[in-house]
């Protein structure tokens, strides 16, 4: 992590400083005039930021291990959340459930509903991980050593195929993930806070802590070595195939978790599972890029910045909808990304590419 050495001659530092000062003045003003709305907006933006950060973390994990940017993260999120929906709403196991309906064994057991829901989600995440492994094995493994652009386009092809298949599973049906917290929440003054905000934040926190510790484990060190230099890592006896597989499995699980919260408030009020999940994952790409493609803390910070910008713009610029156009918060992430990249071409924590003749 970079030290905070302020340098007035550096344009990026000036931009950063002006954003911090401007944000502080704005926050002070809003806290004084409408603290309840400000507080709910803050919680909302942290929740949205967590959703973006979860999906971004998956992308970064895959990028760090395989140097592939995964455009199929959205489709994987959608398939993942469909798996969850199969498990908890239909009470069937996913994958095989398309043809032969095998009942979800967890719901046959006794015990409180929320524990059964939680266990089912975990089993669904295992299926999502299997999907990630399958994708890696079939589409990514044969491409080791090919140009990175080709592999990125393979993930675009995957995105199309998976999203269409997933969309055909949903079509016009209403699907939900039957979240135990439902649509409940509490009021702060005039603002309303959903329980799902906290669920998203806690999940993201757990995921980031888990990845943080994972990078200190034996496998995690191997993964960082592969990220640093594939050939050297191979020469040291690291099984690159296994590293790739773990990265894609973890990426798919994180995508599914992000997808789960992408069906919940603040992203979606109805809790319906549909193709919007894939679009949410596309808005997580700016978070990845803003934080730096190869940085875990960048994914977290990028996700939070993008989420905050989107929610705050939606809350405090809503009077300008006429000329900004309806639905303008949804493009704020891309806007923030372009501004951010003008100042820092490799994102906040990204490693600049060393160019050699």
């Amino acid at each position: 992590m970079a030290k905070l050495n302020f340098d007035a001659s550096e344009p990026s530092h000036l931009v950063g400083l002006s954003i911090v000062v401007g944000g502080a003045i704005f926050s002070a003003y809003e806290l004084a005039t409408g603290a309840d709305i400000y507080a709910t907006t803050l919680l909302k933006s942290l929740a949205l930021g967590s959703v973006y950060a979860l999906i971004a973390l998956g992308t970064v994990l895959i990028f760090k291990a395989t140097e592939v940017i995964n455009f199929a993260q959205g489709a994987m999120a959608m398939v993942g959340v469909l798996f969850i929906s199969f498990m908890v709403a239909d009470g069937n196991l996913p994958i095989v459930g398309f043809f032969w309906e095998i009942p979800n064994p967890i719901y046959e057991l006794g015990g409180p509903e929320w524990i059964k829901w939680f266990l089912s989600v975990i089993v669904a995440l295992v299926f999502a991980a299997l999907l990630g492994l399958l994708i890696e094995r079939l589409a990514i493994r044969p491409m080791i050593g090919e140009p990175l652009f080709s592999v990125a386009v393979i993930t675009l092809g995957l995105e199309i195929a998976l999203r269409v298949l997933a969309n055909d599973t949903v079509k016009i049906n209403f699907r939900s993930v039957d979240a135990p917290w439902g649509n409940g929440g509490f009021n702060i003054g005039d603002g309303f806070v959903n329980w799902s905000y906290f669920a998203a934040m806690i999940t993201a926190a757990i995921a980031f802590v888990a990845v943080f510790f994972f990078y200190r484990s034996r496998m995690g060190i191997a993964m960082r070595a592969v990220a640093h230099d594939q050939e050297a890592a191979m020469a040291q006896g690291i099984n690159i195939g296994r590293v790739f597989a773990i990265a894609w499995g973890a990426g798919a699980v994180l995508a599914a978790m992000g997808g789960l919260f992408a069906t919940q408030p603040p992203v979606k009020q109805t809790g319906a599972v549909d193709t919007d999940v894939a679009l949410v994952a596309f808005r997580a790409l700016p978070a990845v890029i803003l934080g730096g493609l190869d940085s875990v803390q960048g994914a977290l910070l990028g996700g939070l910045i993008v989420g905050t910008a989107e929610i705050y713009a939606g809350q405090y610029l809503s009077g300008q909808t006429a000329w900004l156009g309806s639905g303008y918060p949804l493009i704020v992430p891309y806007f923030v990304m372009i501004i951010g990249l003008l100042v820092r071409p490799y994102g906040l924590f990204g490693t600049p590419e060393i160019r050699r003749v």
Binding site: I69, F98, A139, P142, M143, E146, P147, L148, F149, S150, V151, A152, V153, I154, L156, G157, L158, E159, I160, A161, L162, V164, L165, N167, D168, T169, K171, I172, N173, F282, L285, P286, V288, I289, L293, A322, W323, L324, G325, S326, G327, Y328, L330, I331, Y334, F335, M337, I338, L341, L342, P345, Y346, G347, E353, R355, R356, V357
Partner: protein, 436 residues
């Protein structure tokens, strides 16, 4: 030189557009076929025309008449292929020649479409339009897109590789959103229905009767009796050939060589005195110009189009065309375009044909029974109904899945694309009868 096609005695000979006799002949055949396709000229009306096969009873009943297309539904698909071909030649300059991966080609097509619409469209209470003739709005569409490309390129030049891909992807979303604002609606019309785009008709100025009609049936120049579909096709085919020539020529100039140097190693190119910023800007502008022209043609061909059509899926289609055809070559791009645009139509007509055969006998009926699902209880992966909730999938969805899978398979098994396959075939016959 006849039997030594790879022997070049001068630089001029090497950079010729068609350096060998084979290429000259193939290109001539290609151009003649391209221009003859819309005319209803029979090659073989029935098997009885073939003297050798006439007496074999099985064949004489089975051979379908072979003829050029004439005015039928395939012509529309070919029109689309020609338009997409122009755009694909543009992205080939940016991504294939200069090595800048762009997912924003659909955005530039949209910019072109709406520049053309404002210049050439009819003004109504809700949308702007200056009703100018085609020789202004079509180049204007290209120039409008090129200007936006120039505005975008300072951001793009700072970024490399996948960072650039994602920023250009952001442009697509920004563009679709901009068409949805109050001021954007004056340009793009209603977000659900879109606006009316100018027609292809060639006018000298704003007069009633066009100089050359393209949107109505009737005689051209007093003797050529063609329908509107045939006219559109011929118009687009001529434009397509012009743009192929343009794209071929870009590669042969100083600019083209500079772009290729930047692609191969940007910092080395700079050391050699190729200004990176200037040439990347040129690459963006040229590519956007092609995209803008294609966008305006596409929109005008569709007649009415919502802005959401210029989506990420369209951008991905161009990347797919590039990779399936073969990156960096004009002929590969042309092959890729026809492959990517025509495959869905082939799949669709094949399925339609099979669906018709479900009741008949023979092999096709057996195949249809396995593949097509006509209703509940009938097992088959393809549904013959157009709108089916859930599974089996209808043809359109199968086409999308197939398209995604095709991209993956091509990249895994044939990274050089159709161009690579062509090279392999050519080299096999070049060395024949030796295997290497």
């Amino acid at each position: 030189m006849f039997l030594r096609p790879n022997l070049y005695t001068s630089y001029e000979a090497e950079v010729q557009i068609l350096p060998t006799y084979t290429k000259k002949v193939l290109a001539a055949i290609g151009i003649i076929l391209l221009l003859l396709i819309p005319f209803d000229i029979p090659l073989i009306t029935s098997a009885t025309d073939l003297p050798l096969l006439r007496n074999i009873p099985v064949i004489s009943n089975g051979i379908p008449p072979l003829r050029f297309l004439g005015d039928n539904s395939w012509l529309r698909v070919l029109d689309e292929a020609l338009i997409f071909g122009i755009a694909a030649l543009g992205i080939n300059i940016l991504t294939g020649m200069a090595g800048q991966v762009s997912l924003g080609h659909a955005f530039f097509m949209g910019v072109g479409a709406y520049s053309g619409a404002v210049l050439g469209g009819v003004s109504t209470s809700s949308v702007w339009g200056w009703n100018l003739p085609i020789w202004i709005w079509l180049p204007g569409a290209g120039i409008g897109a090129a200007l936006v490309g120039i505005v975008v390129s300072p951001v793009a030049v700072r970024l490399r590789g996948l960072y650039l891909a994602i920023v250009t992807l952001g442009l697509v979303f920004l563009g679709i959103h901009m068409s949805n604002t109050t001021w954007g609606r004056h340009i793009a019309g209603d977000p659900g229905l879109g606006r009316d785009f100018p027609k292809y008709d060639i006018r000298l100025w704003k007069e009633e009767a066009p100089l050359i009609t393209i949107n109505d049936d009737g005689k051209w120049f007093g003797f050529l009796d063609v329908t509107d579909n045939q006219k559109k096709y011929l118009f687009l085919a001529v434009l397509f050939l012009v743009f192929i020539l343009l794209a071929k020529n870009v590669a042969r100039t100083r600019t083209g060589r500079a772009l290729q140097a930047i692609r191969d190693r940007d910092i080395a190119a700079e050391v050699m005195g190729v200004p990176e910023f200037k040439y990347k800007l040129i690459a963006f502008a040229t590519s956007s110009f092609f995209a803008g022209i294609a966008g305006a043609l596409f929109a005008s061909f569709a007649g009415k189009l919502p802005a959401s059509q210029f989506s990420l899926a369209l951008s991905v289609e161009f990347i797919a065309i590039l990779l399936i055809g073969g990156v960096g070559t004009v002929s590969g791009t042309v092959m890729g375009t026809f492959f990517v645009v025509l495959t869905p139509k082939f799949v669709e007509s094949f399925t339609e044909w099979l669906a018709d055969k479900t009741d008949g006998g023979g092999v096709s009926a057996k195949l249809a029974e396995v593949v097509i699902s006509t209703g509940p209880g009938n097992q088959g992966p393809i549904s013959s109904a157009i709108q089916t909730p859930g599974y089996p999938l209808n043809v359109f969805d199968w086409n999308l899945v197939l398209y995604g899978v095709l991209i993956i398979l091509f990249l895994i098994f044939e990274p050089l694309g159709l161009y690579g396959i062509w090279i392999k075939i050519r080299n096999y016959w070049k060395r024949w009868p030796f295997s290497y």
